[in-house]
Amino acid sequence: MTNHAVSTRIPLDEYAALLGEGEIEVLRALAKPLRGRRVEMINSTAVGGGVAEILTRLLPLADELELDIRWDVMTGGEDFFEVTKSFHNALHGAPYHATARDFEIYLAYNERNISRLPLDSEFVVIHDPQPAALIEARQRNHNYWAWRCHIDLSHPNQAVWDFLAPFVAKYDGSMFSSPEFARQLPIPQYLFYPAIDPLSDKNRELSADFIDGVLERYKIDPQRPILTQISRFDRLKDPVGVIRAYRIVKRYFDCQLVLAGGGAPDDPEGAIVLKEVLREAESDSDIKVLDLPPFAPLEVNALQRASTIVIQKSLREGFGLTVSEALWKKKPVVASAVGGIPSQVIHKQTGLLAHSVEGAAYQIRFLLSHPDIAAKLGEAGHQHVKENFLITQKLKRYLTMFLAFSNSK
Protein backbone atom coordinates (compact mmCIF):
# COMPACT_ATOMS: atom_id res chain seq x y z
CA MET A 1 0.00 0.00 0.00
CA THR A 2 2.61 2.53 0.96
CA ASN A 3 6.13 3.63 1.55
CA HIS A 4 4.97 5.61 4.63
CA ALA A 5 3.86 4.41 7.97
CA VAL A 6 0.14 4.68 8.42
CA SER A 7 -1.98 4.15 11.47
CA THR A 8 -3.54 0.92 12.59
CA ARG A 9 -6.13 -0.21 10.10
CA ILE A 10 -9.74 0.27 11.14
CA PRO A 11 -12.14 -1.80 9.01
CA LEU A 12 -14.82 0.11 7.12
CA ASP A 13 -17.46 -1.96 8.85
CA GLU A 14 -16.61 -0.22 12.11
CA TYR A 15 -17.69 3.07 10.55
CA ALA A 16 -21.06 1.58 9.69
CA ALA A 17 -22.01 1.66 13.36
CA LEU A 18 -21.61 5.45 13.34
CA LEU A 19 -22.76 6.29 9.84
CA GLY A 20 -25.14 3.52 8.80
CA GLU A 21 -24.51 0.55 6.53
CA GLY A 22 -25.88 2.46 3.54
CA GLU A 23 -23.09 5.02 3.60
CA ILE A 24 -20.45 2.29 3.56
CA GLU A 25 -22.19 0.46 0.72
CA VAL A 26 -21.95 3.65 -1.35
CA LEU A 27 -18.18 3.69 -0.84
CA ARG A 28 -17.92 0.07 -1.93
CA ALA A 29 -20.07 0.72 -5.01
CA LEU A 30 -18.06 3.79 -6.06
CA ALA A 31 -14.76 1.98 -5.50
CA LYS A 32 -15.71 -1.10 -7.49
CA PRO A 33 -14.76 0.34 -10.92
CA LEU A 34 -11.49 1.63 -9.42
CA ARG A 35 -10.25 -1.65 -7.95
CA GLY A 36 -6.58 -2.30 -8.60
CA ARG A 37 -5.99 1.11 -10.15
CA ARG A 38 -2.95 3.01 -8.86
CA VAL A 39 -3.07 6.23 -6.83
CA GLU A 40 -0.09 8.19 -5.47
CA MET A 41 -0.47 10.90 -2.81
CA ILE A 42 2.44 13.29 -2.24
CA ASN A 43 2.95 15.90 0.47
CA SER A 44 5.87 17.43 2.36
CA THR A 45 5.64 16.07 5.90
CA ALA A 46 4.93 12.66 7.37
CA VAL A 47 3.83 13.92 10.81
CA GLY A 48 2.20 17.04 12.20
CA GLY A 49 -0.42 19.21 10.55
CA GLY A 50 -3.75 18.35 8.99
CA VAL A 51 -2.56 16.90 5.67
CA ALA A 52 -0.40 14.16 7.18
CA GLU A 53 -3.17 13.38 9.62
CA ILE A 54 -5.76 12.98 6.86
CA LEU A 55 -3.49 10.81 4.71
CA THR A 56 -2.65 8.61 7.68
CA ARG A 57 -6.32 7.74 8.03
CA LEU A 58 -7.34 7.82 4.37
CA LEU A 59 -4.87 5.33 2.98
CA PRO A 60 -5.92 2.24 4.92
CA LEU A 61 -9.55 2.86 3.97
CA ALA A 62 -8.70 3.21 0.27
CA ASP A 63 -6.59 0.09 0.53
CA GLU A 64 -9.49 -1.85 2.01
CA LEU A 65 -11.54 -0.79 -1.01
CA GLU A 66 -8.77 -2.38 -3.12
CA LEU A 67 -7.32 0.76 -4.65
CA ASP A 68 -3.59 0.37 -5.17
CA ILE A 69 -2.65 3.48 -3.19
CA ARG A 70 0.67 4.80 -1.89
CA TRP A 71 1.79 7.92 -0.01
CA ASP A 72 5.15 9.54 -0.69
CA VAL A 73 6.69 12.43 1.24
CA MET A 74 8.96 14.79 -0.65
CA THR A 75 12.33 15.45 0.92
CA GLY A 76 13.95 18.84 1.44
CA GLY A 77 16.60 20.60 3.46
CA GLU A 78 16.11 23.32 6.04
CA ASP A 79 16.53 25.94 3.31
CA PHE A 80 13.67 24.40 1.33
CA PHE A 81 11.30 24.34 4.30
CA GLU A 82 12.18 27.92 5.23
CA VAL A 83 11.31 29.00 1.69
CA THR A 84 8.08 27.00 1.57
CA LYS A 85 7.02 28.26 5.00
CA SER A 86 7.51 31.78 3.67
CA PHE A 87 5.53 30.81 0.56
CA HIS A 88 2.81 29.40 2.80
CA ASN A 89 2.49 32.61 4.81
CA ALA A 90 2.73 34.76 1.67
CA LEU A 91 -0.03 32.80 -0.03
CA HIS A 92 -2.13 33.43 3.07
CA GLY A 93 -1.49 37.14 2.49
CA ALA A 94 1.42 37.88 4.83
CA PRO A 95 4.01 40.42 3.58
CA TYR A 96 6.94 38.74 1.85
CA HIS A 97 9.54 39.73 -0.70
CA ALA A 98 10.35 36.66 -2.72
CA THR A 99 13.85 36.54 -4.19
CA ALA A 100 15.14 34.72 -7.24
CA ARG A 101 17.20 32.57 -4.86
CA ASP A 102 13.99 31.42 -3.08
CA PHE A 103 12.52 30.25 -6.38
CA GLU A 104 15.79 28.49 -7.28
CA ILE A 105 15.80 26.60 -3.98
CA TYR A 106 12.16 25.61 -4.50
CA LEU A 107 12.76 24.33 -8.03
CA ALA A 108 15.99 22.53 -7.15
CA TYR A 109 14.31 20.43 -4.45
CA ASN A 110 11.33 19.69 -6.70
CA GLU A 111 13.71 18.48 -9.41
CA ARG A 112 15.54 16.25 -6.94
CA ASN A 113 12.23 14.73 -5.88
CA ILE A 114 11.19 14.12 -9.47
CA SER A 115 14.13 11.76 -9.81
CA ARG A 116 13.37 9.86 -6.57
CA LEU A 117 9.54 9.55 -6.67
CA PRO A 118 7.63 7.13 -8.96
CA LEU A 119 4.98 9.65 -10.22
CA ASP A 120 3.62 7.06 -12.66
CA SER A 121 0.34 6.07 -11.00
CA GLU A 122 -2.91 6.52 -12.92
CA PHE A 123 -3.99 9.19 -10.41
CA VAL A 124 -1.38 11.47 -8.81
CA VAL A 125 -2.56 13.82 -6.06
CA ILE A 126 -0.16 16.58 -4.99
CA HIS A 127 -0.83 18.33 -1.69
CA ASP A 128 -0.07 22.03 -1.22
CA PRO A 129 2.54 24.29 -2.85
CA GLN A 130 5.71 22.51 -1.70
CA PRO A 131 5.56 19.67 -4.30
CA ALA A 132 3.43 21.55 -6.90
CA ALA A 133 6.28 21.71 -9.45
CA LEU A 134 6.49 17.90 -9.58
CA ILE A 135 3.93 18.23 -12.38
CA GLU A 136 6.92 18.93 -14.63
CA ALA A 137 7.57 15.18 -14.56
CA ARG A 138 4.21 14.39 -16.10
CA GLN A 139 4.15 12.49 -19.35
CA ARG A 140 1.46 13.76 -21.69
CA ASN A 141 -1.84 11.79 -21.60
CA HIS A 142 -0.21 9.19 -19.38
CA ASN A 143 -2.10 9.79 -16.15
CA TYR A 144 -4.34 12.21 -14.20
CA TRP A 145 -2.84 14.83 -11.91
CA ALA A 146 -4.76 16.78 -9.26
CA TRP A 147 -3.47 19.58 -7.02
CA ARG A 148 -4.97 19.78 -3.54
CA CYS A 149 -4.52 23.21 -2.00
CA HIS A 150 -5.16 23.20 1.76
CA ILE A 151 -4.47 26.90 2.30
CA ASP A 152 -6.44 30.11 1.92
CA LEU A 153 -5.52 31.61 -1.46
CA SER A 154 -8.06 34.43 -1.35
CA HIS A 155 -5.42 37.17 -0.90
CA PRO A 156 -2.17 35.63 -2.09
CA ASN A 157 1.16 37.40 -2.44
CA GLN A 158 1.10 38.06 -6.16
CA ALA A 159 4.77 37.27 -6.84
CA VAL A 160 4.54 33.86 -5.17
CA TRP A 161 1.23 33.01 -6.82
CA ASP A 162 2.46 34.17 -10.24
CA PHE A 163 5.38 31.79 -9.79
CA LEU A 164 3.19 28.82 -8.80
CA ALA A 165 0.17 29.37 -11.08
CA PRO A 166 1.80 28.10 -14.30
CA PHE A 167 2.55 24.80 -12.55
CA VAL A 168 -0.99 24.51 -11.20
CA ALA A 169 -2.45 25.23 -14.65
CA LYS A 170 -0.86 22.03 -15.94
CA TYR A 171 -2.93 19.79 -13.64
CA ASP A 172 -6.20 18.10 -14.66
CA GLY A 173 -7.99 19.56 -11.67
CA SER A 174 -7.47 21.45 -8.45
CA MET A 175 -9.15 21.17 -5.07
CA PHE A 176 -9.82 23.94 -2.57
CA SER A 177 -11.34 23.95 0.92
CA SER A 178 -13.65 26.91 0.16
CA PRO A 179 -14.96 28.61 -3.02
CA GLU A 180 -13.38 31.80 -1.72
CA PHE A 181 -9.91 30.29 -2.10
CA ALA A 182 -10.25 29.39 -5.76
CA ARG A 183 -8.31 31.41 -8.32
CA GLN A 184 -8.97 32.15 -11.98
CA LEU A 185 -7.50 28.98 -13.46
CA PRO A 186 -7.94 27.26 -16.80
CA ILE A 187 -8.54 23.90 -15.07
CA PRO A 188 -11.56 22.65 -13.08
CA GLN A 189 -11.57 23.68 -9.43
CA TYR A 190 -13.39 21.44 -6.98
CA LEU A 191 -14.57 22.02 -3.43
CA PHE A 192 -12.88 19.45 -1.20
CA TYR A 193 -13.43 19.64 2.52
CA PRO A 194 -10.74 18.23 4.77
CA ALA A 195 -11.94 15.61 7.19
CA ILE A 196 -11.54 14.00 10.57
CA ASP A 197 -11.61 10.33 11.48
CA PRO A 198 -14.26 9.62 14.12
CA LEU A 199 -12.50 6.42 15.16
CA SER A 200 -9.01 7.84 15.50
CA ASP A 201 -7.44 8.41 18.90
CA LYS A 202 -8.09 12.10 18.46
CA ASN A 203 -11.82 11.71 18.06
CA ARG A 204 -12.98 8.41 19.54
CA GLU A 205 -14.87 8.23 22.81
CA LEU A 206 -12.70 8.37 25.95
CA SER A 207 -13.34 7.24 29.48
CA ALA A 208 -14.06 9.88 32.10
CA ASP A 209 -11.09 8.58 34.08
CA PHE A 210 -8.71 9.22 31.22
CA ILE A 211 -10.02 12.75 30.68
CA ASP A 212 -9.73 13.48 34.40
CA GLY A 213 -6.17 12.19 34.34
CA VAL A 214 -5.20 14.58 31.53
CA LEU A 215 -6.77 17.52 33.35
CA GLU A 216 -4.92 16.60 36.52
CA ARG A 217 -1.63 16.28 34.65
CA TYR A 218 -1.96 19.79 33.29
CA LYS A 219 -3.45 21.23 36.51
CA ILE A 220 -6.75 22.18 34.90
CA ASP A 221 -9.73 22.52 37.24
CA PRO A 222 -12.69 20.46 35.94
CA GLN A 223 -15.10 22.38 38.18
CA ARG A 224 -14.69 25.71 36.39
CA PRO A 225 -15.44 26.57 32.73
CA ILE A 226 -12.64 25.62 30.35
CA LEU A 227 -12.10 27.59 27.14
CA THR A 228 -9.77 25.84 24.72
CA GLN A 229 -7.99 26.59 21.48
CA ILE A 230 -6.07 23.71 19.93
CA SER A 231 -3.67 24.70 17.19
CA ARG A 232 -0.05 25.11 16.24
CA PHE A 233 1.69 28.13 17.76
CA ASP A 234 1.33 30.19 14.63
CA ARG A 235 0.54 33.92 14.35
CA LEU A 236 -2.22 33.16 11.85
CA LYS A 237 -4.03 31.24 14.62
CA ASP A 238 -3.92 34.40 16.74
CA PRO A 239 -3.16 32.79 20.14
CA VAL A 240 -2.43 36.22 21.61
CA GLY A 241 -5.88 37.39 20.42
CA VAL A 242 -7.41 34.40 22.19
CA ILE A 243 -5.73 35.43 25.45
CA ARG A 244 -7.12 38.96 25.03
CA ALA A 245 -10.64 37.60 24.42
CA TYR A 246 -10.28 35.37 27.49
CA ARG A 247 -9.28 38.39 29.60
CA ILE A 248 -12.53 40.12 28.63
CA VAL A 249 -14.56 37.01 29.47
CA LYS A 250 -12.67 36.61 32.74
CA ARG A 251 -14.20 39.87 34.02
CA TYR A 252 -17.58 38.10 34.04
CA PHE A 253 -16.81 34.39 34.46
CA ASP A 254 -14.26 32.58 36.60
CA CYS A 255 -12.95 30.54 33.68
CA GLN A 256 -9.69 29.00 32.50
CA LEU A 257 -7.99 29.13 29.12
CA VAL A 258 -6.12 26.25 27.54
CA LEU A 259 -3.90 26.95 24.54
CA ALA A 260 -2.55 23.64 23.36
CA GLY A 261 -0.58 22.85 20.25
CA GLY A 262 2.51 21.32 18.85
CA GLY A 263 5.05 22.07 16.18
CA ALA A 264 5.60 20.34 12.86
CA PRO A 265 8.98 19.72 11.20
CA ASP A 266 8.10 22.12 8.35
CA ASP A 267 7.22 24.98 10.77
CA PRO A 268 10.43 26.61 12.11
CA GLU A 269 8.49 29.69 13.27
CA GLY A 270 6.54 27.83 15.95
CA ALA A 271 9.09 28.23 18.76
CA ILE A 272 9.18 32.00 18.31
CA VAL A 273 5.39 32.32 18.50
CA LEU A 274 5.28 30.05 21.54
CA LYS A 275 7.61 32.47 23.37
CA GLU A 276 5.32 35.37 22.46
CA VAL A 277 2.33 33.49 23.83
CA LEU A 278 4.11 32.60 27.08
CA ARG A 279 5.07 36.24 27.52
CA GLU A 280 1.45 37.34 27.00
CA ALA A 281 0.14 34.68 29.41
CA GLU A 282 2.64 35.43 32.16
CA SER A 283 1.31 35.89 35.70
CA ASP A 284 -2.13 34.31 35.04
CA SER A 285 -2.15 30.77 36.44
CA ASP A 286 -5.54 30.12 34.79
CA ILE A 287 -3.94 30.27 31.35
CA LYS A 288 -2.40 26.91 30.47
CA VAL A 289 -0.05 27.02 27.52
CA LEU A 290 0.66 23.41 26.56
CA ASP A 291 3.42 22.68 24.06
CA LEU A 292 2.31 19.20 23.04
CA PRO A 293 4.39 16.83 20.91
CA PRO A 294 3.49 16.84 17.17
CA PHE A 295 1.48 13.66 17.67
CA ALA A 296 -0.53 13.75 20.91
CA PRO A 297 -4.01 12.67 19.80
CA LEU A 298 -5.34 11.34 23.09
CA GLU A 299 -4.35 14.47 25.01
CA VAL A 300 -5.98 16.69 22.38
CA ASN A 301 -9.10 14.53 22.42
CA ALA A 302 -9.31 14.71 26.22
CA LEU A 303 -8.77 18.49 26.29
CA GLN A 304 -11.50 19.02 23.68
CA ARG A 305 -13.94 16.73 25.49
CA ALA A 306 -13.26 18.47 28.81
CA SER A 307 -13.83 21.92 27.30
CA THR A 308 -16.87 24.03 27.98
CA ILE A 309 -16.32 26.01 24.78
CA VAL A 310 -13.83 25.47 21.97
CA ILE A 311 -12.36 28.53 20.27
CA GLN A 312 -10.70 28.84 16.85
CA LYS A 313 -9.82 32.49 16.49
CA SER A 314 -7.70 32.25 13.36
CA LEU A 315 -6.81 35.34 11.33
CA ARG A 316 -6.47 33.19 8.22
CA GLU A 317 -7.30 29.56 7.91
CA GLY A 318 -7.10 26.85 5.30
CA PHE A 319 -9.92 24.97 6.88
CA GLY A 320 -9.40 24.55 10.61
CA LEU A 321 -9.99 20.86 11.26
CA THR A 322 -9.96 21.49 15.00
CA VAL A 323 -13.40 23.03 14.52
CA SER A 324 -14.77 19.79 13.09
CA GLU A 325 -13.06 17.85 15.87
CA ALA A 326 -14.82 19.95 18.48
CA LEU A 327 -18.19 19.84 16.72
CA TRP A 328 -17.94 16.07 16.41
CA LYS A 329 -17.63 16.00 20.22
CA LYS A 330 -20.80 18.13 20.38
CA LYS A 331 -18.90 21.10 21.76
CA PRO A 332 -20.17 24.66 21.22
CA VAL A 333 -17.64 26.49 19.06
CA VAL A 334 -16.80 30.17 18.77
CA ALA A 335 -14.66 30.76 15.70
CA SER A 336 -13.51 33.42 13.28
CA ALA A 337 -15.40 33.83 10.01
CA VAL A 338 -12.31 33.13 7.92
CA GLY A 339 -11.26 30.52 5.40
CA GLY A 340 -13.13 27.24 5.63
CA ILE A 341 -14.52 27.90 9.10
CA PRO A 342 -17.92 29.27 7.95
CA SER A 343 -18.43 25.99 6.06
CA GLN A 344 -18.26 24.23 9.41
CA VAL A 345 -19.80 26.84 11.66
CA ILE A 346 -23.11 27.93 10.16
CA HIS A 347 -23.74 30.98 12.32
CA LYS A 348 -26.40 30.35 14.96
CA GLN A 349 -27.03 26.85 13.59
CA THR A 350 -23.89 24.85 14.30
CA GLY A 351 -21.86 27.41 16.29
CA LEU A 352 -21.13 31.11 16.55
CA LEU A 353 -18.89 33.21 14.31
CA ALA A 354 -16.90 36.26 15.37
CA HIS A 355 -14.89 38.90 13.55
CA SER A 356 -12.76 40.41 16.35
CA VAL A 357 -11.31 39.85 19.83
CA GLU A 358 -14.28 41.68 21.33
CA GLY A 359 -16.75 39.74 19.18
CA ALA A 360 -15.22 36.41 20.20
CA ALA A 361 -15.38 37.44 23.86
CA TYR A 362 -19.03 38.41 23.50
CA GLN A 363 -20.00 35.09 21.87
CA ILE A 364 -18.15 33.14 24.57
CA ARG A 365 -19.96 35.09 27.30
CA PHE A 366 -23.27 34.46 25.53
CA LEU A 367 -22.71 30.71 25.46
CA LEU A 368 -21.51 30.58 29.06
CA SER A 369 -24.75 32.36 29.99
CA HIS A 370 -26.96 30.06 27.86
CA PRO A 371 -25.81 26.45 28.23
CA ASP A 372 -29.05 25.19 26.66
CA ILE A 373 -28.31 27.04 23.42
CA ALA A 374 -24.70 25.90 23.60
CA ALA A 375 -25.86 22.27 23.81
CA LYS A 376 -28.23 22.68 20.84
CA LEU A 377 -25.48 24.19 18.69
CA GLY A 378 -23.17 21.34 19.66
CA GLU A 379 -25.76 18.73 18.66
CA ALA A 380 -26.42 20.33 15.25
CA GLY A 381 -22.67 20.72 14.75
CA HIS A 382 -22.21 17.00 15.34
CA GLN A 383 -24.76 16.20 12.59
CA HIS A 384 -23.13 18.68 10.23
CA VAL A 385 -19.73 17.03 10.67
CA LYS A 386 -21.25 13.58 10.27
CA GLU A 387 -22.66 14.58 6.88
CA ASN A 388 -19.76 16.57 5.50
CA PHE A 389 -16.44 16.42 7.30
CA LEU A 390 -15.68 12.80 8.16
CA ILE A 391 -12.91 10.78 6.55
CA THR A 392 -15.47 8.57 4.82
CA GLN A 393 -16.91 11.63 3.04
CA LYS A 394 -13.42 12.64 2.03
CA LEU A 395 -12.76 9.21 0.59
CA LYS A 396 -16.05 9.43 -1.28
CA ARG A 397 -15.00 12.74 -2.87
CA TYR A 398 -11.70 11.25 -4.03
CA LEU A 399 -13.45 8.21 -5.51
CA THR A 400 -15.92 10.53 -7.22
CA MET A 401 -13.16 12.68 -8.66
CA PHE A 402 -11.23 9.66 -9.96
CA LEU A 403 -14.41 8.36 -11.59
CA ALA A 404 -15.16 11.80 -13.04
CA PHE A 405 -11.62 11.96 -14.47
CA SER A 406 -12.02 8.49 -15.98
CA ASN A 407 -15.44 9.33 -17.42
CA SER A 408 -14.12 12.51 -18.99
CA LYS A 409 -11.99 10.73 -21.60
Partner: protein, 219 residues
Protein backbone atom coordinates in the same frame (compact mmCIF):
# COMPACT_ATOMS: atom_id res chain seq x y z
CA UNK B 1 -46.72 -10.80 -2.26
CA UNK B 2 -46.91 -9.35 -5.80
CA UNK B 3 -43.74 -9.45 -7.83
CA UNK B 4 -42.81 -6.73 -10.28
CA UNK B 5 -41.61 -7.64 -13.73
CA UNK B 6 -39.47 -4.49 -13.81
CA UNK B 7 -37.19 -4.41 -10.76
CA UNK B 8 -36.35 -1.24 -8.84
CA UNK B 9 -32.62 -0.57 -9.18
CA UNK B 10 -31.03 1.26 -6.25
CA UNK B 11 -28.22 3.65 -7.14
CA UNK B 12 -25.29 5.11 -5.27
CA UNK B 13 -24.77 8.76 -6.04
CA UNK B 14 -21.99 11.13 -5.20
CA UNK B 15 -21.40 14.76 -6.08
CA UNK B 16 -18.30 16.82 -6.61
CA UNK B 17 -18.76 20.53 -6.20
CA UNK B 18 -17.10 22.41 -9.03
CA UNK B 19 -16.32 26.02 -8.16
CA UNK B 20 -17.35 28.39 -10.95
CA UNK B 21 -15.80 31.65 -12.03
CA UNK B 22 -18.86 33.76 -11.19
CA UNK B 23 -19.59 35.38 -7.85
CA UNK B 24 -21.95 38.06 -6.58
CA UNK B 25 -21.38 40.78 -4.03
CA UNK B 26 -24.78 42.47 -4.42
CA UNK B 27 -28.32 41.32 -5.08
CA UNK B 28 -28.12 42.89 -8.55
CA UNK B 29 -25.02 40.77 -9.25
CA UNK B 30 -26.85 37.73 -7.89
CA UNK B 31 -29.57 38.27 -10.49
CA UNK B 32 -26.99 38.53 -13.24
CA UNK B 33 -25.38 35.30 -12.03
CA UNK B 34 -28.69 33.45 -11.84
CA UNK B 35 -29.45 34.46 -15.41
CA UNK B 36 -26.08 33.35 -16.74
CA UNK B 37 -24.99 30.37 -14.65
CA UNK B 38 -25.23 26.78 -15.85
CA UNK B 39 -28.16 24.45 -15.16
CA UNK B 40 -25.78 22.41 -13.00
CA UNK B 41 -25.24 25.51 -10.88
CA UNK B 42 -28.97 26.10 -10.33
CA UNK B 43 -29.29 22.42 -9.40
CA UNK B 44 -26.38 22.66 -6.97
CA UNK B 45 -27.68 25.70 -5.11
CA UNK B 46 -31.24 24.39 -4.75
CA UNK B 47 -31.72 20.64 -4.98
CA UNK B 48 -28.29 19.68 -3.70
CA UNK B 49 -28.28 22.15 -0.83
CA UNK B 50 -31.51 20.84 0.52
CA UNK B 51 -30.06 17.34 0.47
CA UNK B 52 -26.78 18.29 2.08
CA UNK B 53 -28.41 20.03 5.04
CA UNK B 54 -31.27 17.62 5.48
CA UNK B 55 -30.85 17.51 9.27
CA UNK B 56 -31.75 21.19 9.66
CA UNK B 57 -35.44 21.95 9.25
CA UNK B 58 -35.33 25.66 10.03
CA UNK B 59 -32.75 26.80 7.53
CA UNK B 60 -30.99 26.33 4.23
CA UNK B 61 -33.82 25.48 1.86
CA UNK B 62 -31.53 26.90 -0.83
CA UNK B 63 -28.12 28.60 -0.92
CA UNK B 64 -29.65 31.61 -2.61
CA UNK B 65 -32.24 32.12 0.13
CA UNK B 66 -29.62 31.58 2.85
CA UNK B 67 -27.28 34.13 1.27
CA UNK B 68 -30.08 36.69 0.93
CA UNK B 69 -30.80 36.30 4.65
CA UNK B 70 -27.37 35.85 6.25
CA UNK B 71 -25.13 37.90 3.96
CA UNK B 72 -27.34 40.38 2.11
CA UNK B 73 -29.48 40.88 5.21
CA UNK B 74 -32.75 40.86 3.23
CA UNK B 75 -35.20 38.67 5.10
CA UNK B 76 -38.05 39.69 2.80
CA UNK B 77 -36.25 38.46 -0.31
CA UNK B 78 -34.97 35.38 1.51
CA UNK B 79 -38.50 34.45 2.53
CA UNK B 80 -39.75 34.56 -1.05
CA UNK B 81 -36.80 32.54 -2.34
CA UNK B 82 -37.16 29.97 0.44
CA UNK B 83 -40.84 29.54 -0.37
CA UNK B 84 -40.05 27.99 -3.75
CA UNK B 85 -40.82 24.29 -3.41
CA UNK B 86 -38.40 22.37 -5.61
CA UNK B 87 -40.90 19.53 -5.90
CA UNK B 88 -43.00 21.82 -8.09
CA UNK B 89 -40.29 21.80 -10.72
CA UNK B 90 -39.56 19.19 -13.32
CA UNK B 91 -37.06 21.33 -15.19
CA UNK B 92 -34.17 23.53 -14.15
CA UNK B 93 -35.24 26.13 -16.70
CA UNK B 94 -38.55 26.66 -14.89
CA UNK B 95 -36.82 26.89 -11.50
CA UNK B 96 -34.28 29.37 -12.85
CA UNK B 97 -37.11 31.46 -14.31
CA UNK B 98 -38.83 31.75 -10.93
CA UNK B 99 -35.59 32.49 -9.06
CA UNK B 100 -34.82 35.26 -11.54
CA UNK B 101 -38.36 36.61 -11.37
CA UNK B 102 -38.24 36.94 -7.58
CA UNK B 103 -34.80 38.51 -7.50
CA UNK B 104 -35.59 40.67 -10.54
CA UNK B 105 -38.78 41.99 -8.92
CA UNK B 106 -36.77 42.90 -5.82
CA UNK B 107 -34.14 44.72 -7.88
CA UNK B 108 -36.81 46.64 -9.79
CA UNK B 109 -38.66 47.65 -6.64
CA UNK B 110 -35.57 48.52 -4.57
CA UNK B 111 -32.65 49.35 -6.85
CA UNK B 112 -30.73 51.08 -4.07
CA UNK B 113 -30.92 47.97 -1.85
CA UNK B 114 -30.03 45.71 -4.78
CA UNK B 115 -26.74 47.54 -5.15
CA UNK B 116 -25.64 47.28 -1.51
CA UNK B 117 -22.58 45.17 -0.77
CA UNK B 118 -23.24 41.95 1.14
CA UNK B 119 -21.15 40.69 4.07
CA UNK B 120 -19.76 37.77 2.04
CA UNK B 121 -19.79 37.01 -1.66
CA UNK B 122 -22.06 34.40 -3.21
CA UNK B 123 -19.96 31.93 -5.21
CA UNK B 124 -21.66 30.08 -8.03
CA UNK B 125 -20.77 26.39 -8.01
CA UNK B 126 -21.90 23.33 -9.93
CA UNK B 127 -22.62 19.76 -8.93
CA UNK B 128 -20.76 17.07 -10.87
CA UNK B 129 -22.83 13.92 -10.44
CA UNK B 130 -21.44 10.40 -10.51
CA UNK B 131 -23.82 7.46 -10.18
CA UNK B 132 -23.14 3.75 -10.01
CA UNK B 133 -25.55 0.85 -9.40
CA UNK B 134 -25.49 -0.31 -5.79
CA UNK B 135 -25.92 -3.86 -7.01
CA UNK B 136 -29.21 -4.11 -5.18
CA UNK B 137 -32.59 -4.60 -6.82
CA UNK B 138 -36.16 -5.00 -5.54
CA UNK B 139 -38.97 -6.88 -7.19
CA UNK B 140 -41.31 -7.09 -4.18
CA UNK B 141 -42.54 -4.58 -1.61
CA UNK B 142 -40.52 -6.37 1.08
CA UNK B 143 -37.29 -6.07 -0.91
CA UNK B 144 -38.12 -2.48 -1.73
CA UNK B 145 -38.58 -1.67 1.97
CA UNK B 146 -35.28 -3.34 2.85
CA UNK B 147 -33.49 -1.32 0.19
CA UNK B 148 -34.92 2.01 1.32
CA UNK B 149 -34.09 1.27 4.94
CA UNK B 150 -30.35 1.02 4.27
CA UNK B 151 -30.07 3.53 1.44
CA UNK B 152 -27.53 6.31 2.03
CA UNK B 153 -28.79 9.87 2.53
CA UNK B 154 -27.50 10.90 -0.88
CA UNK B 155 -29.03 7.85 -2.55
CA UNK B 156 -32.34 8.46 -0.83
CA UNK B 157 -32.29 12.08 -1.93
CA UNK B 158 -31.35 11.07 -5.47
CA UNK B 159 -34.32 8.70 -5.78
CA UNK B 160 -36.84 10.76 -3.84
CA UNK B 161 -36.11 14.41 -4.70
CA UNK B 162 -33.81 15.00 -7.63
CA UNK B 163 -35.47 12.19 -9.61
CA UNK B 164 -38.11 14.69 -10.69
CA UNK B 165 -35.64 16.37 -12.94
CA UNK B 166 -34.63 13.12 -14.61
CA UNK B 167 -38.16 11.85 -15.13
CA UNK B 168 -39.60 15.30 -15.91
CA UNK B 169 -42.60 14.21 -13.84
CA UNK B 170 -44.24 15.51 -10.68
CA UNK B 171 -43.27 12.38 -8.86
CA UNK B 172 -40.26 10.51 -7.50
CA UNK B 173 -38.56 7.20 -8.36
CA UNK B 174 -40.19 5.40 -5.43
CA UNK B 175 -43.76 6.48 -6.25
CA UNK B 176 -43.21 5.93 -9.95
CA UNK B 177 -42.17 2.34 -9.38
CA UNK B 178 -44.82 1.60 -6.75
CA UNK B 179 -47.57 2.82 -9.09
CA UNK B 180 -46.16 1.45 -12.32
CA UNK B 181 -44.54 -1.84 -11.32
CA UNK B 182 -46.63 -2.92 -8.31
CA UNK B 183 -49.88 -1.08 -9.15
CA UNK B 184 -49.95 0.49 -5.64
CA UNK B 185 -51.25 3.91 -6.69
CA UNK B 186 -52.60 4.99 -3.28
CA UNK B 187 -49.33 4.16 -1.56
CA UNK B 188 -47.45 5.92 -4.36
CA UNK B 189 -49.53 9.08 -3.87
CA UNK B 190 -49.06 9.03 -0.08
CA UNK B 191 -45.30 8.76 -0.47
CA UNK B 192 -45.28 11.63 -2.96
CA UNK B 193 -47.21 13.92 -0.60
CA UNK B 194 -44.66 13.87 2.25
CA UNK B 195 -43.49 17.40 3.03
CA UNK B 196 -39.72 17.39 2.74
CA UNK B 197 -39.41 20.98 3.94
CA UNK B 198 -40.74 20.31 7.41
CA UNK B 199 -39.14 16.90 7.87
CA UNK B 200 -35.52 15.90 8.06
CA UNK B 201 -34.47 13.35 5.47
CA UNK B 202 -34.38 10.66 8.16
CA UNK B 203 -37.89 11.65 9.22
CA UNK B 204 -39.04 11.36 5.61
CA UNK B 205 -37.48 7.93 5.27
CA UNK B 206 -39.19 6.78 8.48
CA UNK B 207 -42.56 8.00 7.17
CA UNK B 208 -42.12 6.12 3.90
CA UNK B 209 -41.24 2.94 5.79
CA UNK B 210 -44.33 3.34 7.97
CA UNK B 211 -46.53 3.78 4.89
CA UNK B 212 -45.03 0.65 3.33
CA UNK B 213 -45.52 -1.31 6.56
CA UNK B 214 -49.15 -0.26 6.65
CA UNK B 215 -49.55 -1.50 3.08
CA UNK B 216 -47.89 -4.81 3.94
CA UNK B 217 -50.28 -5.37 6.82
CA UNK B 218 -53.30 -5.12 4.52
CA UNK B 219 -55.03 -8.46 4.05
Amino acid sequence: MDQATTPFEFYAVSYLTRIGNQSAETIAELLQGLEQCSDASIFHHTFQTLGAHHFLTENLSSDVAQWAMADANRNDLAELLASLDIRDYVSIAALRQDLCRIVGDFCAASPELAGQTALERFYFCEGVEVTVPLGQQATTLDEFRDGIEVLSHAGFYFHFISSRLRSQLQTNDFSYWLAGALDLKTLADSVNRIDIYTNTLEGTRARILRLIDRERRKP
